[in-house]
Symmetry: D2
Amino acid sequence: MRFFSDNAAAVHPAVLEALAAANRVDTAYDGDALSKSLDGAFSDLFGTDCAALWVSTGTAANCLALAAMVPPHGGVLCHREAHINTDEAGAPEFYTHGAKLMPLDGGGAKLVPETVRDARRAIRADVHQVQPHALSITNATEYGLVYRPDEVAALGEVAKELGLGFHMDGARFANAMATLGGHPGDGTWRAGVDALSFGFVKNGGLSAEMLIFFRREWAEVAKIRRKRAGHLNSKGRYQAAQVLALLEADRWLDNGRASNAGAAAIAEAAGARLVLPVEANEVFLRLTPDEAASLRAQGFDFYDWAEGEARLVTSWDQPRAEIEALAGAIRALGS
Amino acid sequence: MRFFSDNAAAVHPAVLEALAAANRVDTAYDGDALSKSLDGAFSDLFGTDCAALWVSTGTAANCLALAAMVPPHGGVLCHREAHINTDEAGAPEFYTHGAKLMPLDGGGAKLVPETVRDARRAIRADVHQVQPHALSITNATEYGLVYRPDEVAALGEVAKELGLGFHMDGARFANAMATLGGHPGDGTWRAGVDALSFGFVKNGGLSAEMLIFFRREWAEVAKIRRKRAGHLNSKGRYQAAQVLALLEADRWLDNGRASNAGAAAIAEAAGARLVLPVEANEVFLRLTPDEAASLRAQGFDFYDWAEGEARLVTSWDQPRAEIEALAGAIRALGS
Amino acid sequence: MRFFSDNAAAVHPAVLEALAAANRVDTAYDGDALSKSLDGAFSDLFGTDCAALWVSTGTAANCLALAAMVPPHGGVLCHREAHINTDEAGAPEFYTHGAKLMPLDGGGAKLVPETVRDARRAIRADVHQVQPHALSITNATEYGLVYRPDEVAALGEVAKELGLGFHMDGARFANAMATLGGHPGDGTWRAGVDALSFGFVKNGGLSAEMLIFFRREWAEVAKIRRKRAGHLNSKGRYQAAQVLALLEADRWLDNGRASNAGAAAIAEAAGARLVLPVEANEVFLRLTPDEAASLRAQGFDFYDWAEGEARLVTSWDQPRAEIEALAGAIRALGS
Amino acid sequence: MRFFSDNAAAVHPAVLEALAAANRVDTAYDGDALSKSLDGAFSDLFGTDCAALWVSTGTAANCLALAAMVPPHGGVLCHREAHINTDEAGAPEFYTHGAKLMPLDGGGAKLVPETVRDARRAIRADVHQVQPHALSITNATEYGLVYRPDEVAALGEVAKELGLGFHMDGARFANAMATLGGHPGDGTWRAGVDALSFGFVKNGGLSAEMLIFFRREWAEVAKIRRKRAGHLNSKGRYQAAQVLALLEADRWLDNGRASNAGAAAIAEAAGARLVLPVEANEVFLRLTPDEAASLRAQGFDFYDWAEGEARLVTSWDQPRAEIEALAGAIRALGS
């Protein structure tokens, strides 16, 4: 029973059906009707005019967004444990041609305005120090916390005040929205977000992530950079089809709810073992080595995190029985 | 009836079936069993130990190969009309961090050894001039010509003599092999090729191309660079599944034969109109503007090329009726 | 007697005196009074407001100019034999993060408007092909020809029409001006030039070249890039002092005249041997191997160029006796 | 009276004399006799075979060294307050094409082996996390502390153990050696240092810093990169002449001693106000805003550092009277 990562989950059946339905001769690259419909579909979803580009990984989405905001000599303010800083192999530096990630602290991988302001203040405005050009946050965070729209808006205000582009890594945006409810525009463009990496792969997709520019003028150069990075698939219609299938009937949101529900059930069982509140589909638990070994012996797979801590991630397609089994096993460890 | 590009073709049904068959929880990235089997599958196919990496585009495959061979301060000898030089938006320069493409001439986008030797000879071996570190050829070429194994071997010898890595862009490698027959090792590693971009997308695939390293030691850094370029799909098993489906029962070769057969039939109809011999699935024709307009009025879509010339590309799934209709229409133009 | 290159020449005594005169405690980097006076000094010289940055090499000046005009995914139209394309070790690609140099043809390394227009026309305006963002010319050219102000203006018009930044590599700008006479603004900003690399080192300087931005708004980022490239000398006053000494009393122009005069005298002796007209301080001659050997045996050093051709460069400080000796020796070869 | 930075100091008269003495026609770039003698001169000084390249700034020296050690996808372990991390405008990222600086903590900008080992241990050896390829330290540090040879050797051992290149930023190497005494090989190559940025500009030079490779094989590519970065001055003999003048009669060491002596005198006066021990030519003091204002009113210029702290830097040519005046003024503040 795999609680390693939502990357391990299967693809939603509707996605496979959509691929089959798209399986005919069509214009190459992003010239097909499905790809062309994405701007409209996401403009509808977010309630504002936006440009929507498919790419095949969240790393590509994040880095194309950052490269649109940050010159090679600029910097990106982000959390020290942001995925872009820790797990993307230096891709942001590659795409931006050497911009500097400027790691900030904050509990549960969340940032607050004062941290951002302090960081900016500590940098001299001269040619010797790298000047930040963007702020990037992750929602839900790498620790499964969720920024509320007003929290995002407070950061958006700082970004505006400091002349920073504002990027949101939404690899688990669906999980955040499932928790938040409300309108997807509220915690994004209405809160000052300029570009959103909107994750679909962890959430039922196969190979298509979306990069949403709320500042459309940035999309044109991003399209050139997408090609230059080898991310303009020649049969783009199969990328678009996946995403459209998940948008249809709010499947993306249902899937987010499903994985969150699994995590909530485990959290309830975990009680005082929780390192952090569970607001999305990740559970961070205190487990002794013996306890971890015991769970593994019962067939549960997961990552060790900090010492004496474990990370468990639930997926949109995780069988209820696995969740219950895990919850039971955790309860059985005692507290 | 589309003769624009084989990029427009549909996906082979076996590929869609393979995606469905792979649709279960599995290890993320390239840790799944299907991805892990690729080294073996391609080592079997080529008759030598090789490393096989999936990526989502031919551009990514080409550029990861070149970046393995060429330092930022080096150069790549290639044909002036090589796809890497004309149609990849500067991706080779991006991936190599600024290496210089050094364009060479040759009929039908083919290179011969003397051209390569002359180019090397014209460069002073000092710190002021960029030194070439790789030679890249395309097989089948951008003009639908095919290098024979002995032609590749002659270039491979030059590459070795001059200390150059040797890359083959095989976006249409299947078409070349369908024409050549024989063993795929003959015109590749046995002829000195170090890395091959092996195309599947134009040939029945959906989003998976392969990068084959015949010098395995280069693969480890290429895997890091793949991640750094955002090309390590998180659900890699669906990439591997596509390729394995096309390898099975030599579907890749059958598809190559099918598209070549279409081009051959058109070539026969075109007769003296041919600008170049047709050795793969591309036909370059002399057409007056009126003739081109007439064909288009009959429903045939294709690109104008040089003045008074057109390019028509056939696909693996092109209906026989379309081919016959086009052949008939060309014959009807007279000669 | 060295006719290899004007790089071999000595430093003008006034430059050494200026260094000694600057030898006191002062503000570091470019915060000293001498550095601060450069904008004014060059604005006066050119008759327009400009920003003037010292750097230590012509390569750095050229590349900072190009990086100000061209994004990483863009291209630079230039002559095939432009120094930036042939002798700067890929520095333009380094500074621009991989922009593509797009070599054009033209006699004597000179470009004409039609060549530039044709090159632009041959590039499709899509995301697959690199789009040019700048035009770069060299005055005097690598073959010692001089663009007249109206020739520059015609190119400047094309640049404007095509949306290209316009850069002039003036490593031998002094030699060009010595030939042209007139106002230095005429063949530069009045002719549409946006940035000029103004060479001083070949012309009596020690280690200071100037980068002049006629579009001041580009200078701010260029100053950041200069630091990022390690070209912000910590004791910048010694850079500024060199340049100011050469500006004083038009020494730069006198030096340009002196080296041109030497070349003119040799050209007169060479007569029908000249491969190209001599308009600055470079002489390209037809010489058989035996003739070349004979000159060398008499103590004259120079480079072989194309087969049967030699390049001789005169310097600002070349003794009259050396020039006369060479002229005599060439005459003695017969014609 | 300037205590801002040793960058503000004048040039040693012997350097100006050496420039004058070098003022004759000679081979361009680094082909002159003076430049060619540098390998020998530094091999003699360090007691081992080394390659010695001049460049015009410490930033260039540091970054060429790092680029020799670290691929674009690699990382550099260094102190959080290392000059390369805080004051070089992202130059290391530029020269390495996006390598990641990995900041570590330590008092007085000094690193200890355990910090380095811990940092390496915290990085997973997979393709998702950037792997460190080099360790860089500064001697004397940015806070004026000096690493003893055995401290360097302990770090050198860790570097070897972890497969890291080992770079020393010696912008103030002369100050460190003046404090340490002994042989310059002891705290460098004998302690495992692979490349040293040996500073001359702060110490009496004009525009020449040295990059010393104790692993000669790295120098060849570094020479290409030097040209590619625009740092191969065309009249290199004037760079070499400066350095040779400072090597002669151990002037570099005398100058280091002179500036250290000034700092020591101030430190003695400062007593309990010292934030850190004074081991080179930098003094960090506790000063209230009023005290700082009072010193400034008396004509002393210096930087504020952290809150309630000031940095004062002494130079090789600082008049004894200025030192005594400052010491007196500090004493007069009381303690």
